[in-house]
Amino acid sequence: MKKILSLFLVLVLAMSVSSAAFAEKKEVKIAFITQSLENASQAFAWSQFQEYAPQYGFTPYLFEEGYDPQKGVAAIGTCIAEGFAAISINPTDPSAMIPSFMEAQKAGVIVGMYSSEVPEEFKQYRDFMCGTNDIICGEVAAQTLMEAFPEGVKVVEVGGQSGHDAQIKRHNGFFDTIDPAKVTVLDSKNCPRWSSDDAMNIMNDFITLYGDEIQAVYCHWDIGATGCIEALKAANLLEGVYVIGVDGCMIGYDQVIEGTQQLCIGQNFTRMTTDTLDTIQKILNKEPYDEVTFTALDVVTPANVSTFPYPKW
């Protein structure tokens, strides 16, 4: 009886071990490492990974930096140790991640940038990039502004969180594109945080300084643009002021529909996510793939807003 019981136990153990090994072999783990889920766009991006990754046979896992690059480094270490197939990362500080990227690549983990890019000299340490470059957001804002005001325009810039990667790129993209002969930047100031309250305070101070001289406002994010719009409204200056916001969230679309925001530069996170998953699959299947896939920006204006699907975030 004892022998039969022992044999049975050994069989059960062997079956469970083999099934676990089989399951582990089958699961293709991919990581989405993001700056913070407090950022609505990143929370939505994660929901898209959860929705679409299973269709590719991937299991998505989330790691959050909490705006601390050290946590991103730790997350990559975990992914290497646990045998992840790929990581898709939107880091707080891309440059700080380079040594970790090198380690990941050495361990055979696919490294993909999501909605951000590493500096030019480090591009060999990531396998691919999918998304929009924040520099392009700034460029589109500048180009659209110059088209809207061919005779010239006076603009103020309300920047995002001072020193943040997106803030720097959206600022640089804009300033590198504007034609100084046509666009006069009256003033430019960054917020201490991505907070509409801070954007509103800065806008109020711009109104005090420049009043009705302001013809356009370039705000680095749609919810910040809400603060700018409220400040302009309170000063009875909103009419005729061309407000630009970046992100493409529900609030940005609402403001375009209402006519209080004239341009919303939208990032399509669903497309960005599926592009990422496509690329990971191609690399795993050893198929040719594009090292850089730029997700086209949605340039949303009151004239074409109805042609875009209403955002889910």
Binding site: K189, N190, D197, D254
Partner: protein, 320 residues
């Protein structure tokens, strides 16, 4: 000699006021637009939400404690209030928001007393943890989305009035603050409960031996702070017309800064709600002046830090 001493004592006791006068004069000379009515109204509107939070924080610091959860309370109350406008109407949403703030504060006080947190370091970490919890609850409720008051299908004009309305040229939010400040001043200086906070902050053992219930006083202090944070949250939300789980980020540090600059000692026991108001005014003014003078955001952060360090240094000098 006696006159010199009097002058020094006057300067020492009114440094914040003198700072405000110097700041106003310098900025007005360099940038005359500073004195425009619109700018002065803006300063008043900007300071109100922070003033409410700093008012609550004054009681906490006088009581010998600290509260880092105010940012969590501000964000969660804004989310609760904004999401209740549609189901129960604006008056109900406003009252629920205020009640939620008081309850969150009470929860903080209860946790602190049950965990036996007696020193500031323990209180600091527990309230920091609670802040994360409140923010996370807000994120769960909203799914990290920003709620916009204008999306409400029911009337929300009361919030519009709080955020941007004025009466006889004075912002309504300031009028509400003035009433609450008067009540809080009366409470602090004319009631036994108010005075017991100072006694507890000055010497807990003495307060206990005098028969005061320390735990109950602590719960009361944190409940007041929660309620004031709720007022601040509603004013802020009404002003920017949106509510998010991250609304009010940085308010904990700014509120402590205003309270300390206002002269409330970090060691507890001493402080005054009216002086906190001066602290709030100075900090808001500083930000406004630096913007008008074209100083960068980095420089503003340096200045805020320098003001805090100076205020603590002066406070320590006074106590020596």
């Amino acid at each position: 000699m006696r006159n010199e001493n009097k002058l020094l004592r006057f300067i020492n006791q009114n440094l914040v006021l003198l700072g405000i006068i110097v700041l106003v004069t310098v900025t007005a000379v360099i940038q005359p637009k500073f004195l425009m009515t619109r700018n002065l109204t803006n300063i008043l509107r900007q300071m109100t939400s922070l003033a409410f939070v700093a008012l609550g924080m004054t009681f906490v610091i006088i009581g010998g404690f600290i509260d880092l959860s105010v940012v969590g309370m501000v964000s969660l109350v804004s989310v609760i209030t904004a999401s209740l406008i549609n189901p129960i109407g604006q008056v109900g949403a406003l009252l629920c928001g205020l009640l939620a703030g008081a309850l969150l504060g009470y929860l903080n006080g209860t946790i602190l007393t049950k965990f036996g947190a007696t020193i500031q370091a323990e209180v600091l970490f527990i309230t920091y943890g609670m802040s994360s919890v409140f923010i996370a609850v807000g994120l769960l409720v909203t799914n990290a989305e920003t709620l916009r008051i204008a999306r409400s299908t029911r009337p929300y004009d009361m919030f519009t009035a709080i955020g941007s309305g004025s009466f006889l040229g004075i912002p309504i939010s300031i009028l509400i603050f003035a009433v609450i400040l008067a009540i809080m001043y009366f409470f602090q200086t004319r009631t036994l409960a108010g005075r017991s906070i100072s006694l507890m902050g000055g010497n807990k053992t003495a307060a206990y031996l005098c028969g005061f219930n320390i735990n109950r006083t602590m719960q009361m202090v944190y409940t007041i702070n929660g309620l004031m944070s709720a007022f601040g949250s509603i004013v802020l939300m009404s002003r920017v017309t949106t509510a998010t789980a991250t609304l009010g980020t940085g308010y904990e540090a700014n509120a402590i800064l205003c309270v300390v600059v206002g002269g409330t000692t970090l060691a507890g026991g001493k402080g005054n709600v009216l002086r906190t108001l001066l602290g709030v005014f100075l900090i808001t003014l500083l930000s406004n002046c630096m913007n008008l003078l074209g100083l960068s955001t980095y420089m503003q952060t340096v200045m805020n830090g320098a003001v805090l360090v100076t205020a603590i240094w002066l406070d320590n000098r006074k106590r020596l």
